[in-house]
Amino acid sequence: MALFTLLLFAIYYKLVLDFYAKGTYTTTEEFQFWGLAILLVIPGLFEVRRFLYFIYSALYSLITQRREDDFMTGTALQDEYNRLIKAKALRNFYHAFMGSFVLAMGVLSWGGSPLIMFNILLFGVLIAHITYHLSEFYYLRKGV
């Protein structure tokens, strides 16, 4: 899942850079562009993850003729263990994102350009998502 997130992010980042290279922006437009790029990537990665689990679930049911357990899919039964793992993974997501946010603001305050600041934020979202996936995996393996 983390690898797929990386791959998806690479494609998305390439598209964003292509769009960015094509346009000429005023400062306000540049802020709008990067703001939109970051706004899209946060729910986008979560939605793709849900979609992937849906595909996995359908394939699992088709191959094994059994209903998938829906443990981490978030589509059906959400029990206390599942919720605790998700809550802890989300906490780690938040910490990773806040770390990148502080770094981005730090770079800006030291005279870095908005381009660098927005790129740090964008990659911060990626790192936060990967942290989320790895946390889920870790807590599932090691327990909570």
Binding site: D69, F71, L77, Y81, N82, G143, V144
Partner: protein
Amino acid sequence: MGQCPVSNNIRKLRFEHNEMTQQQLAEKVGVTRQTIVAIEKEKYAPSLELAFRIARTFKQPLEEVFTYHPPG
């Protein structure tokens, strides 16, 4: 993750109840099989409510199913 302070006899009790599967127990108490797996392996201490539901499924008092080991 630290050692879970709650141990249990779920595996033994399942065996004594017509070799009940983890999936069957999970369905009876309303959780996923993975949760039962985690509890059995003592990677997760269930909530009080779930602990009571499990004990009730086996018709046992709570202390017969779960044992608390205080740290230290």
